[in-house]
């Protein structure tokens, strides 16, 4: 019947955690709002990074080599060439791109202006192969591979993204590193806020903690309501941050997309997917659990 006791304990902890939050509503609102602001900053940075990556990917900077085939190339020619290029040591994978796929990408790249392509036959676009190489290859590998690919009869042209793509990738990687650092700082700030709030709750309920320990409450049982409280705080903060971010993103989106299309010929911007949003909320809950665990840990163990 251990599972039954555990289930009852879980229900009790959830109820006590919720009641604990309702006992100090002002403190909770302030803590959730402050944590949400921190998470909002982090979310905004992530959103910028995700979209910057999307724009660069739409320009093909992440594809070292694109091999365009001649107009009359047959599908089996493309397959044979893909197989031969895949066999070259250093090549990670080769992705064939049909005219239909190319047309879809082009439409996505045009974003709101995709109606310009209405009535255009995808067949005007050539069949191509995207060649991805491993990271550990020599610096001149791309050029040598391009020469080898161009020697095939069915190849019309081999396109290399050029030096600007390397710079763009470096910029993106730097942005990613900066975001990672900022993310760690923000996560630490969130932990500190949740830690202080739970510490206040622990102090307010110290008599209850002492009684629970005297009547045979296990440390896990005593801690659990505070962990629930911390998890809820973190999850609510993350939900609020994502909600506010969505409102801001949705309002600015048309202006941003127009500006980006003019400046960078970039397509539609995107918000976090539901899965990414859920992961964000989960991350918030995890921060909450960690913060409250630290806050309550030594007090309960002592």
């Amino acid at each position: 019947m251990i599972w039954r006791g555990t289930w009852q304990t879980t229900i009790y902890s959830m109820r006590r955690g919720l009641r604990g939050m309702s006992e100090a509503p002002l403190v909770q609102v302030l803590a959730i709002a402050t944590t949400a602001v921190c998470m909002l900053l982090l979310g905004a940075g992530l959103l910028v990074w995700v979209n910057a990556r999307g724009i660069l990917e739409s320009w093909g900077v992440d594809i070292p080599l694109t091999v365009y085939l001649v107009d009359d190339a047959r599908p089996e020619d493309a397959q044979q060439l893909a197989a031969r290029l895949s066999a070259v040591p250093g090549v990670e994978r080769v992705v064939p791109v049909t005219p239909d796929m190319a047309m879809t990408r082009l439409a996505e790249g045009l974003g709101g202006d995709s109606e310009l392509l209405d009535g255009v036959d995808p067949a005007i676009l050539p069949v191509s192969l995207e060649v991805h190489v491993r990271r550990d290859v020599a610096p001149d590998f791309d050029d040598r591979l391009a020469e080898r690919a161009a020697a095939f009869g069915v190849v019309e042209e081999v396109a290399l993204p050029g030096e600007w793509a390397d710079r763009a990738k470096t910029l993106l990687d730097t942005l990613g590193d900066v975001l990672l650092g900022a993310g760690c700082l923000v996560a630490f700030a969130c932990l500190a806020i949740i830690w202080s709030t739970i510490r206040l709750a622990v102090h307010a309920r110290r008599a209850e903690i002492q009684i629970l320990q005297l009547v045979g409450g296990t440390p896990r049982f005593v801690r659990a309501p505070f962990l629930v409280e911390g998890a809820l705080q973190g999850a609510l903060s993350a939900t609020l941050a994502i909600g506010l971010l969505y409102v801001g993103f949705d309002s600015l989106r048309p202006f941003l997309e127009r500006g980006l299309t003019i400046l960078f010929a970039a397509g539609a911007l995107r918000f976090f997917t539901p899965l990414e949003g859920a992961l964000g909320i989960g991350f918030g809950a995890l921060l909450g659990v960690l913060g409250s665990r630290v806050a309550v840990g030594r007090y309960v163990e002592s």
Partner: protein, 264 residues
């Protein structure tokens, strides 16, 4: 790990045994034996199951230290303490809550949540056992009825009299059906009439098979009719154990009778 079945009420073993127990409170750098002030020195006694034992002595005699040791709130420096034949000096940290579920405790300052009602206070102990909510309230109500308190009252505990608050504390200690009940100066804050009421209540608890161990500085408590054993402490030393004295008397009576029979 401690569990309910090791507190077998039918067992003939004493429920509590102290053997040459010494205990000190370590403060700051007083790590060496010489620098420590011993709260208890070389204490040995045992308490039988279902008996009513009173630990008596002035302030600082070591009464509370004895109870703290039984609840594993402190560890002995020397000697062994056996509760239901288990050495609790060697108890793992994780097993302490299970010991405390079998040893109820009542304190002079009640240790109640003063803004919560009586039933909420008693329920707290039962929630810690992982019981379903309905069972928690049923058992809490029963425990309150046992101490003659109305379980339906929603008044916060701070609105109750001192005697009623102590009854709530006793109900909380009894709700988990412990094999032993420890009471540290439970009548310390009460007037003589309420003191008598609480003693009668503890005697009643003892009559139902629960071992009661009461620490007090009030010498009148030992005169209560239900008290089976008196342990007198002075300056951290056990100066009198009525049960040991009785056994010694019985042994000498047996020896004297044997001598008389031999001479006759």
């Amino acid at each position: 790990m401690f569990c309910a079945r090791i507190f077998d009420r039918a067992s003939s073993m004493p429920i509590l045994e102290f053997s040459n127990v010494s205990m000190s409170y370590v403060r700051g750098s007083q790590r060496s034996r010489e620098g420590r002030r011993f709260a208890l020195s070389d204490i040995s006694f045992s308490v039988e199951r279902g008996s009513f034992a009173v630990v008596i002595g002035p302030s600082g005699a070591g009464k509370s230290s004895v109870l703290k040791l039984v609840l594993a709130m402190q560890r002995p420096d020397e000697g062994t303490i056996r509760v239901a034949d288990r050495d609790i000096g060697r108890l793992r940290r994780g097993s302490i809550p299970y010991l405390r579920r079998n040893v109820g405790a009542v304190f002079q300052d009640f240790k109640l949540l003063i803004e919560a009602s009586a039933i909420e206070n008693v329920s707290l102990a039962l929630h810690a056992l992982g019981l379903p909510r309905r069972q928690v309230y049923e058992r809490a109500a029963m425990a309150l009825e046992q101490v003659d308190l109305e379980p339906t009252t929603r008044r916060p505990v701070r609105c109750l009299s001192g005697g009623e608050q102590q009854r709530v504390a006793i109900a909380r200690a009894l709700a988990g059906e412990p094999a032993m009940l420890l009471a540290d100066e439970p009548t310390g804050n009460l007037d003589p009439r309420l003191t008598q009421e609480i003693l009668d209540l503890l005697a009643n608890v003892c009559s139902r098979g629960t071992t009661v161990m009461l620490a007090t500085h009030d010498p009148l408590v030992r005169d209560h009719a239900r008290v089976d054993q008196e342990l007198r402490l002075m300056g951290g030393r056990l100066v009198y154990d009525s049960e040991a004295a009785r056994r010694k008397r019985e042994a000498s009576d047996v020896a004297a009778n044997a001598l008389v029979e031999a001479v006759a």
